[in-house]
Every structure is written in structure tokens, then in C-alpha cells.
Symmetry: C2
Subunit: 194 residues, 2 copies
Amino acid sequence: MSLRHAVLGLLADRPASGYDLLKTFAISLGNVWSATQSQVYTELGRLADSGQVTVTAEGARGRKEYAITESGRAELHRWLTRVEPNRTPRNDTLLRVFFLGLLKPAEAEAFMRREAETAAAHHKELAALTTVAAGQDSFSAHGRLALEWGLRVTAAQHEWALWAEQQIVDRAAGGGGGGGHGGGDEDEDVPAQG
Amino acid sequence: MSLRHAVLGLLADRPASGYDLLKTFAISLGNVWSATQSQVYTELGRLADSGQVTVTAEGARGRKEYAITESGRAELHRWLTRVEPNRTPRNDTLLRVFFLGLLKPAEAEAFMRREAETAAAHHKELAALTTVAAGQDSFSAHGRLALEWGLRVTAAQHEWALWAEQQIVDRAAGGGGGGGHGGGDEDEDVPAQG
DNA sequence: AAACTCATGTAAAGTGTTACATGATTAT
DNA sequence: ATAATCATGTAACACTTTACATGAGTTT
């Protein structure tokens, strides 16, 4: 489970409360691994039960500050060096791309155009983060490596979406032939339900 | 839920059994959305219960062939055109990158080198698929758009990993100063447990 | 006959999302 | 006083993974 290690990793940097961690997820770590409030508090409880973190201070409004333990650090190190990253592919956008032939060309084109815009917007957001994420500490420095990944991939994604949109336009302009599905039914029009 | 729509999308192309679908996941669709045997059979059962697919034939060895219904097609179309793709970030590799400062420079470098190799290998695999996925039908054609995405992103990923590895080398060679974590503890050596 | 492939199904555990519920402290 | 922010927690539901369980038909 990666959320567990995300929490351990943040606590390895410095002690923090669940609320603090949530802020870090919101502004930086969440760009690579998102977590909900519910998940973070639940996970802190589990980590405390298993002795990988401990409550080091209790403050106002029930605030609890957690710190990583030696056992937690050992687990984190094991995960970083000996556990193969999970690469299970799960890309909702690309899944839709597979089925774009079920849409009218104009609808499919609109889909790709929108993807291009989304990629451009995402790229811009990340570029804006660059100036913000200027810390000199190791966590910020490595966060910038991840940020650079985001910049490169969103750029590639943007170019790809523009290219794919053109492919769809070209195919619609060329022969309507060859466009159908395996079923061989010519009546492949999409339902027009509201 | 996307698995449901992956199944509907495949059945919109042609009727198939769970076993058939599993093969499609294994050779093509699984590159963008993976599914287990257990999931596919369970989902087919649910879709049949809700009337989005029906059993159109039963063959040897208990084989059941499913076809999409009008209601299923309507749901698929709604999903394609009106449901925003889920973009929840969840990248196990990048999560680790955030915490690379917890490793010795040599370990962090090894991690990035390995990522570079993985990206190159993945790119090569996809390139090999290009020649295979040569169908003229719409499903294959759009699958090739997804494949192109894979080629571009794995290429970007490979270049990024090489760049990041160099960043780590440079930082290790430059001052050891500025390398510590927020905690300010100089004794940040990683545990050497086995 | 043995091995392999085809083919489906269920159970349990783990992980993630959404919604609900509560209350203290600080700023206006 | 009111609103905003700080701060934690639980319950229900949805989804994913892993393991188990079974058996028919085909090839060697």
C-alpha cells in the first residue's frame, strides 16, 4: 500500500499532524498521490497501532502530532529500495480513446480537443508551481524532480492530443469506409438519449 | 466505474465471453486499464442483472456469450460524452521520487537508472505492438492512438529519468551541504536492516 | 492417461471514496 | 455573535486483488 508510505515519507521529513499532512497533500504530494482526509486519519491510526509512528504531542483542538519511529523508517527504506513500484495501468482518458469510434467524428474530435486543453491547462498549473516550490531542502528538491516529470509528460500529452485530433479529422474527411465496427452493422449511430 | 465501461465498450465492438474479453485485456486494452479475471466475470454478472448486456449464446464448457443491449449502448455513450475522465493522480514511482532524499546518493541514483531502463523497455514493448496492432477496424485504429500516447510518454519518461539521475549525481558531487531534511538531524543515515 | 487449454464462479481481505458527525479556537 | 479555520473521527459503500474451487474439452 502506497498511502501508508506516503504518510511515513512525510513524517520522515518532519513530525506533523493529520491536518498538516493533508495540507502537504493538497499543495504538493497530492500531484503524484492523492489522499482524502478520511484516509489520512485512518492510516495514522493504523500506523500508530503498528508502532511505525507515535504521538509526540497533543495540542489545542485535539491536535495530535505524529513522528516516525525507527521501525517506520526501516519499513520506508525497505519500500523505497526493495519493493518494485506498482505500474498497474489505469488511464481513464485512454480507455475512452479506445472507444471513440462509437461517437460521431465531431464528438470524437471534441473529446480530443478537450483533452488537449486539459493537458495545456495542467502544464500551466505545474509551471506556476515551479516558482512556488523553491525550497532548498531535500523534500522540495526531489519534489522538483517529480514536477519536471509532470511538465514533460503534460507537454507530450498536449502534443499527442493535437496530433490525435488531426488523425480523427483526417479519417472523417477521407473515406467514410473502413470506419465501422467488427459487428459489421452499418447502423452504428449512437443513441441520442437525454 | 471504468471497468464497467471497458466491458461495455468491448461488447459494443462485438459479442464475447468473459474469457474472450480477458484475452483482449491481456493483449491490448489492459495497457490502459487492467482487469483481473475475477473482476470481469463479476462485472458481466452485474451488467446482465442491470440489463446492459444479455447472454446471447451458451457454448461448450459453460461458455456464455454476452452482447451489449440498447440500454448498455446508451450508458456507454453517456459515459463517453458526458462523464469527465477521472484524473486522480496515483503514480507510485513519482511518490518514491519525493522521498529519494532518504536514500544514500548511490541508492537514489540506482533507483533512477532502473526507472530509465524500465521506461526504455516499456517503450520497446509498445513499439513491438505497433506492427501487431494493424487492424483496419475502428477499435484497432483508436487503439493505435492510445499506443502512440504510450510511445510518446515512455520516451518522455526515459529522457526524464536520465536527466533526473544526472541531477542526483550532480547534487551528490556538489556540496554535501543543503542535503539534509527539515528535522535538522545530521544523523539521517538509512537503517541497514535486512 | 496425462497435460494443457478453455471456461466460469465465489470468498476474503485490502484499498479508496463519499457522507456524516462533532467540536474548539480565532478573526471580524 | 458569526463566520472561518483548525482538527479529528466513523460508517457505508464501491472497487481491486488474491486465492480458492471446479469442471469440460482437446491435444499428445
